[in-house]
Amino acid sequence: MPVFKHPQILIASNLTDGEVVFLGSSGWERDHRRARIARKADEATELETLGKRDISANRVVDVYLADVEIGSDGAPTPLHYREKMRVKGPSVRLDLGKQAGEGAL
């Protein structure tokens, strides 16, 4: 099992439209700030279990955990620049993606 270094959230792509989604407390959210945060290894494992369940239920695909930091407002922000891109949208088209209000930011 990999060493648990940072809080994590579960990221996936929605099956029907491919949009990036985040596992929240009551299902998949389109806004990463509503993601459920794993602060310990066993919580991360639980997120993964839920992710596998929803892969099997054909809700989501390409599910994985991403390291985050927690802001003063309690919201998670991905640590890696790849996931930072995924929670916003293309940096060269600020009029597209979550940053433009497609889904929610």
């Binding site: 792509s13 099956l15 439209d17 491919g18 790849r82 293309p90 940096s91 060269v92 993606g97």
Partner: protein, 574 residues
């Protein structure tokens, strides 16, 4: 009336400049759409898992990317009709975000389609004789060709009939649908290589032998990606009647001996490199000699039937030069610059080849809005027999424009922000989508292209610099062809940050070479400075008429490395 004439008569607005589907082709594509619709339905119902569905969606060009699905539409040998370009625009508006991205393999990518809409998109493409078949997967991909095919003065033969011949041979080829890895073929019929054939799995160069017979020089094992190689000649002169059998023999040798244990070593270039071209040639020749070639008997009538679709349009008899063009150039300097940079010689007197740059200063290389696509379609109908081409440099070509019409065309393009006069110059940058869209990318590439483009925004400076190929990839897969850029830029991840490795001396033409690494990686912010220092050094060192690559070859890589080291010591931020 021949069958071809009849088909054209039934479609009065259809130009005779590209292949048109017959009943078999139409039925084949429609069946594939229906099949994929069923596969999508089974996926949505849960009858297919993602693991089961993935090969099906990839075979239909549908990827899952960073923000959404991505659909890659095939544009065979880069040739489009106005009607097809309009349909691409309509699809962008109806099912995507109002734009498309033209790629280095002469395809078009939509960045935001929904899985549930994809069958309808494919149906809409089928209406205009287009599809996305074999734009992904370990099969023979879209066959690419010289974007000046049929109109270039240096051409021996139009490569598109050969490319179409190969497309029909390779489409759903039962033996080659599950190759060790993807397989790319490019064809040129000209003395100058504009199709980068030496960096394809198979490159075909149409040649004439001493008796004037047309045949093919066949090159195998070229490629970019993680391990770049220049292709090697496996057949010096393959007669046309043997072409399919010879390629079949190559693919069989690859299919049999290509590695399947390691995807990074599975391309034919690795097989050629590990075995050596002599052993590969012997294996291909042995397979060719042993195989039942009756299945590949050349059918000259069928080849001629296909070639007839690419017959020249009804050109007018015109003087070699245009008085009105000369006058307009004198009157409008911006137009003169456009003509000098973006307009090329045509084999027919009085006509010209126009490159429409999709690289506005600070823009996204290869992107066109749906409105721009419609302008291009209109322009092609008004000025160029309704035909367009997509170049592997991610630009659009209008291949048959009367010189007398150039000013009116330029005015139309200029009004649509499509008249950037930078074809082949430093801001005409090839760039993959990079980490702004691509799930494989390790760094962004588009913002790097934009920053370099802005740094050289002075167009007179660009013209003074002259031809210079800058090519950027956002990962080692090298979709942005950085290995063959005179200046190549590769985006990587280094300690959790985007980092850019610069290479010099790449060349995609018949004098092909793979770029050499300049030094340690630099940050995104440093890249424009580095490029500017390299260009300034080239300007200081070049001799009369020397392009960047020529100066680099003459004075050597070390001198360019040295200048960067000195600049760094002097306090430059590099």
């Amino acid at each position: 009336m021949t069958a071809v004439d009849l088909r054209v008569a039934q479609r009065p607005n259809a130009p005779m400049t590209t292949y048109r589907y017959d009943e078999y082709d139409s039925a084949f594509v429609r069946e594939r759409v229906a099949e994929f619709r069923e596969q999508v339905n089974r996926r949505l119902s849960g009858a297919l898992t993602e693991e089961e569905f993935r090969p099906f969606r990839l075979m239909n060009g549908l990827y899952l990317q960073l923000h959404a699905y991505m659909l890659r539409v095939a544009i065979p040998y880069g040739t489009l009709t106005a009607r097809q370009m309009r349909r691409l625009a309509d699809i962008a508006d109806k099912w995507d975000r109002g734009y498309g991205h033209f790629t280095t393999r002469q395809n078009l990518q939509y960045n935001w389609p929904k899985l549930v809409d994809t069958p309808d998109i494919l149906e809409s493409l089928a209406d205009v004789e287009m599809h996305a078949i074999q734009t992904s997967g370990n099969c023979i991909r879209n066959v690419t060709a010289d974007h000046f095919a049929g109109v270039a003065p240096d051409e021996i033969e139009d490569p598109r009939p050969t490319a179409e011949f190969l497309r029909q041979w390779s489409s759903l080829h039962s033996e080659f649908s599950f190759l060790p890895r993807k397989f790319k073929i490019a064809v040129t019929g000209a003395e100058h290589d504009r199709a980068a054939i030496l960096v394809h799995d198979i490159g075909l160069r149409i040649v004439k032998n001493d008796t004037g017979e047309i045949g093919y020089q066949v090159v195998v094992g070229g490629g970019l990606g993680r391990s770049p190689f220049i292709g090697k000649v496996v057949g010096d002169f393959v007669p046309r009647e043997d072409l399919l059998a010879f390629l079949e023999a190559i693919l069989r040798v690859y299919n049999r001996f290509g590695r399947r244990d390691n995807k990074y070593k599975a391309r034919v270039k690795i097989l050629v490199h590990e075995k050596g071209i002599d052993e590969i040639r012997a294996a291909v020749e042995a397979e060719f000699a042993a195989m039942d070639r009756s299945a590949f008997d050349h059918d000259p009538e069928e080849f001629e039937r296909i070639a007839a679709f690419f017959a020249p349009p009804p050109y007018e008899s015109l003087p070699a030069t245009s008085a009105s063009l000369r006058a307009a150039k004198l009157e409008t300097p911006a137009f003169a610059n456009f003509v000098d940079v973006n307009v090329g010689a045509h084999k027919i007197p009085g006509y010209a080849i126009v490159t429409v740059s999709l690289k506005p200063i600070g823009g996204v290389p290869g992107d066109a809005t749906s409105d721009q696509m419609r302008v291009l379609a209109d322009a092609s109908e008004r000025f160029g027999f309704g035909e367009l081409r997509v170049s592997h440099e991610q630009n659009i070509i209008l291949p048959h424009v009367k010189q007398d019409d150039l000013f009116a065309l330029w005015s139309m393009l200029d009004a649509a922000s499509l008249a950037t006069a930078n074809a082949g110059l430093v801001s005409d940058i090839i760039s993959c989508p990079g980490l702004d869209y691509c799930s494989l990318a390790t760094a962004r590439s588009i913002p790097i292209a934009q920053a370099i483009s802005k740094r050289f925004s002075d167009m007179s400076r660009q013209r003074r610099i002259g031809k210079l190929g800058v090519k950027i990839s956002g990962c080692i897969n090298a979709c942005g062809h950085h290995h063959v850029g005179a200046i190549g830029i590769l985006g990587l991840e280094k300690k959790g940050q985007e980092s850019y490795q610069i290479t010099l001396g790449g060349d995609p033409t018949f004098s092909a070479s793979i770029g050499e690494i300049l030094g340690p990686g630099v940050t995104a912010e440093q890249v424009p400075d580095v490029v500017e220092h390299l260009v300034d050094y080239y300007l200081a060192e070049r001799e009369e008429g020397e392009a960047f690559i020529d100066t680099w070859r003459r004075i050597g890589h070390a001198r360019f490395k040295d200048v960067l080291r000195r600049e760094g010591e002097d306090g430059a931020d590099i």
